[in-house]
Amino acid sequence: MSEALLAARAAGTDTTVPAGSGARQFWRRLRTQHAALVAAAVVALLVLVALAAPLLTALEGQDPTTYHPSLVDSARGGVPVGPLGGASADHWLGVEPQTGRDLFARLVYGARVSLGVALAATVVQVAIGITLGVAAALGKRWVDQLLSRFTDIIVAMPLMIMSLALLAIVPSSFPRPVLVALVIGLIGWGNIARIVRAQTLTLKELDHVSAARLSGWGTWSIARRELLPGIAAPVITYAALLVPSNITVEAALSFLGVGVKPPTPSWGQMLTAADVWYQAAPQYLLLPAGALFITVLALTVLGDGVRTALDPRAASRLRVGTGRRRESKAAGGGTA
């Protein structure tokens, strides 16, 4: 909410809301936020790099998994040979200590894992959250009670701890990145479900929904045609902030050695051994750390921008006090 205020103040977006289609209005509001635009450009570049990883490494003539024992000095414990951590025309960013694997290749393939896992996890979280949230809001009282209590429990369990623990019991034959995405997705949907339930409860009372119900529409059609458009904005807002948080969780799990496992490269996993090598090959630490930082920062700024663009009233609400203290509690809980 804080950035929303800042951006709205700078751009004056909260003064008048011009009429127009939802999507066009959204783009117009997003365009006025310079920070969000820069962030969007960075995110687009990262996605491009992730998609084009095979192409980029082919251009370099390397791949992320081949060992190059000749490029590390085994007498000195596996320090890369040559200045700058072994950076050369063949290995643009140098090589990994001990194994001699190409760092550039591992970095760009790591982007694939990071973004892919985070996006897939977000899709799972959103799908479960919408389904259970709408079901709770439209269902009978006991259904709502059951689902809401279940959501409370899911929210109460720390995401990191649960995914860490769950990753212990799944057979290792399962493809690891898919597994990590599934685990994060299956645990982290609680807040989305809460938001969707609250929004659906509000929408349910509106005239157009009542009209649809009185015309004899089924629950399913009402949910799909009348409610989904209404819950899209808050869901997109929250999902935009889930992506960077999921990236951090994946990196953390891989850092702990239970997430994506070698030889598949991942930024978090690259950092596991990096502290030992910071003097001999500083880029081995700085590259994955920097990549993580920039990715999460860009996605967070973009998420804030999306929120401002979708809900400019959140910004103006901060100015004209309406005494909605309970809401700020809900918002605080939501972003935590």
């Binding site: 109460a156 720390p158 212990a168 057979p171 999460v296 006090g321």
Partner: protein, 332 residues
């Protein structure tokens, strides 16, 4: 006051029910796994007979709800375990025995708890001071250059994973500048001074990340409160700006901060696992990572439940504090 006592009681009962539900879910998820628990425990090279023997030892032949009943019984009343020749009594609250070392999970956790509590409690003090302080400062300096700098720093803070900031801190402070030795845990009861010095970097790493979230929230809710009518009244009466921001607006921002702090206990525990692993602190987090790597299910389940207990407790306490801090909250 009667209504308040009732509220606290209802909240306590609610927390207990939540904990019970968590234990059921966790037990089902971990012990009714598709993969054979005995096979996982025994390792990939075990013969079918060995697997069968392990399964009998772990009572895996009983139906799931019977085993959960045993588990619950151990938790409430304690339990006896026969480990080959001798019988080991595991007194309540008993979370079972480690598959790896036959040690009681409760004792294992009990031994590691002081480290994790030291880490999280110290970090919490730091992140509340840093976070709320930064938030108040940037609400006060709204629109000025210093506020933009603070906002930028907090944004960077929210975008940095705790293990990245920890790594950088450790390398710069311990490796390059040699201001501190690499952290090694010293118990508070052994040497309080060494305890604090060795935990300084882990505290900072964990606190800096969490503080960013608090700074953002404090700033937002301070601005919200500052826009309210009673603040305008204070100003109209000529109350000084420092008093308006520092006392009256801060009081309004207090309740959301409590709520966020409870919510953040969960994420802070996750951060503590990373911090412990990074700095080599022998706490619950490090033990959990180890247990996960060797698939020591009783330890994993026990740790998850203990952590869940603390998180639920924190949330219940926060709800009560919230009601005390903000009398407008409707007690339900």
């Amino acid at each position: 006051m009667n209504g308040f006592t009732g509220f606290v009681l209802r909240r306590a009962v609610g927390a207990a029910v939540t904990l019970l539900a968590i234990s059921v879910i966790v037990y089902i998820v971990f012990y009714a796994t598709p993969g054979n628990v005995a096979q996982i425990t025994c390792g990939p090279r075990c013969s079918p007979e060995q697997v069968h023997q392990v399964a009998r030892q772990l009572n895996l032949d009983d139906p799931l709800f019977v085993r959960y009943g045993h588990f619950l019984q151990g938790l409430v009343a304690g339990q006896d375990y026969s480990t080959g020749t001798s019988v080991q009594h595991c007194s309540a609250p008993c979370l079972g025995l480690s598959y790896q070392s036959d040690q009681q999970v409760t004792q294992l956790i009990w031994a590691k708890l002081p480290v994790s509590l030291s880490l999280v409690a110290g970090a919490m003090v730091l992140w509340l001071i840093l976070g709320v302080g930064t938030g108040v400062l940037s609400a006060w300096r709204r629109g000025r250059f210093s506020e933009r700098v603070l906002t930028g720093i907090t944004l960077a803070g929210t975008a940095t994973p705790v293990f990245v900031i920890g790594l950088v801190l450790m390398i710069v402070v311990c490796g390059e500048l040699r201001l501190l030795p690499f952290p090694q845990y010293v118990a508070l009861t052994d040497d309080p001074e060494q305890w604090a010095w060795n935990l300084l970097l882990p505290w900072l790493s964990l606190a800096l990340i969490e503080a960013a979230a608090f700074a953002r929230l404090t700033r937002a809710s301070m601005l919200e409160t500052l826009a309210e009518d009673h603040i305008r009244t204070f100003r109209a009466y000529g109350v000084g700006e420092r008093s308006v921001v520092g006392r009256h607006a801060l009081r309004g921002a207090f309740a959301p901060v409590i709520a966020l702090n409870a919510n953040n206990v969960g994420s802070a525990v996750g951060g503590a696992v990373l911090t412990e692993t990074l700095f080599g602190l022998p706490g619950i987090g490090q033990e959990l990572v180890h247990a996960v790597n060797v698939v020591d299910l009783p330890v994993v389940v026990g740790m998850v439940l203990v952590i869940g207990f603390f998180v639920v407790l924190a949330n219940a306490v926060a709800d009560v504090l919230y009601a005390v801090a903000d009398r407008r909250v409707v007690l339900t």
